[in-house]
Amino acid sequence: MAELNHYLMLSGVLFTIGTAGVLLRRNLITVLLSIEVMLNAVNLSFIAFGHFLGSADGQVIVFFVITVAAAEAAVGLALVISLFRHVETLNPDAFRRLRG
């Protein structure tokens, strides 16, 4: 039987992978994907805690996190598109000046 600690360890490993992706990658799309990995790691620990506490609140919070992630992805990708139109690259180091 998988214990709560198993799920929390897995969640921590996934969160660390996502953090590494955000810090190491030089591609805005991959950085956004790494943020999704981090969000999923947190979702997993919410559901694990909810299950082992015998409560459905964890699932409800994950429902809201997924909604917010959808909004974040839409706005983030719109920003990436309009940035790409300016400089024709996805390297975040290229966006040093934020003047229009």
């Binding site: 039987m1 998988a2 214990e3 709560l4 600690n5 799920y7 929390l8 360890m9 897995l10 921590g12 996934l14 969160f15 660390t16 992978i17 996502g18 590494a20 992706g21 190491l24 990658r25 030089r26 591609n27 799309i29 991959t30 994907l33 790494s34 999704e36 990995v37 999923n40 979702n43 997993l44 559901i47 909810g50 299950h51 082992f52 506490l53 459905a56 609140d57 964890g58 699932q59 409800v60 994950v62 429902f63 809201f64 997924i66 917010v68 992630a69 959808a70 909004a71 992805a73 839409a74 706005v75 990708l77 719109a78 920003l79 598109i81 309009s82 790409f84 690259t89 996805l90 390297n91």
Partner: protein
């Protein structure tokens, strides 16, 4: 229930390996497709945790809608491969030592936090054997979390208007 633990390790291994490949891939299209695999593995874990509603939402909304949005943008931009790291910051030795120390600190903190927050430490009242039904989840959302639910609907509306305004700005400029 030994098969439960085996399923946990199988889904967990798939999630970790695909997430690592998402971060390691240089082609964003492969990254998106591998992330869908990671989401499906996590959905399997949610079923193990008696949360089939969230597992289905995960596959329909996350793996379906959000990842298709990512895939559309990747193909629309037809982005070149990632540039090699050009800045000298990462190459310097001091930054590497500092980065390694910070990574070790992060992992140590996670292990410390996890080892102290076992089921006994959080006062677990015991897990439910049967899965939560959609009816129960819906009653909780619309009774206890009704305000948060309405707030997220406004958030979605704002995000939709913002995304259209940001990505469609050049159309407005062309017209004027």
């Amino acid at each position: 229930m030994a098969h439960n633990l085996m399923l946990f390790y199988a889904f967990g291994a798939i999630a970790v390996v695909t997430s690592l490949l998402v971060v390691a891939q240089s082609n964003p299209v492969y990254s998106v497709l591998l992330l869908i695999g990671s989401f499906v593995a996590l959905a399997g874990l949610y079923v193990l945790l008696a949360a089939p509603f969230v597992a289905v939402i995960q596959i329909i909304v996350y793996a379906g809608a959000i990842m298709v949005l990512f895939l559309f943008v990747v193909m629309l931009l037809n982005a070149p491969r990632e540039d090699a790291v050009q800045s000298g910051i990462i190459e310097s030795g001091a930054a590497r030592v500092l980065g390694a120390l910070l990574a070790i600190a992060l992992v140590a903190e996670l292990v410390w936090a996890v080892s102290r927050s076992g089921a006994a430490a959080v006062g677990a009242t015991g897990e439910r054997e049967h899965a939560w039904s959609v009816t129960e989840i819906g009653q909780i959302i619309f009774r206890d979390y009704a305000f948060a639910f309405e707030a997220t609907s406004i958030l979605i509306l704002v995000a939709m208007v913002g995304a259209v305004a940001l990505a469609g700005r050049h159309l407005a400029e062309k017209k004027s």
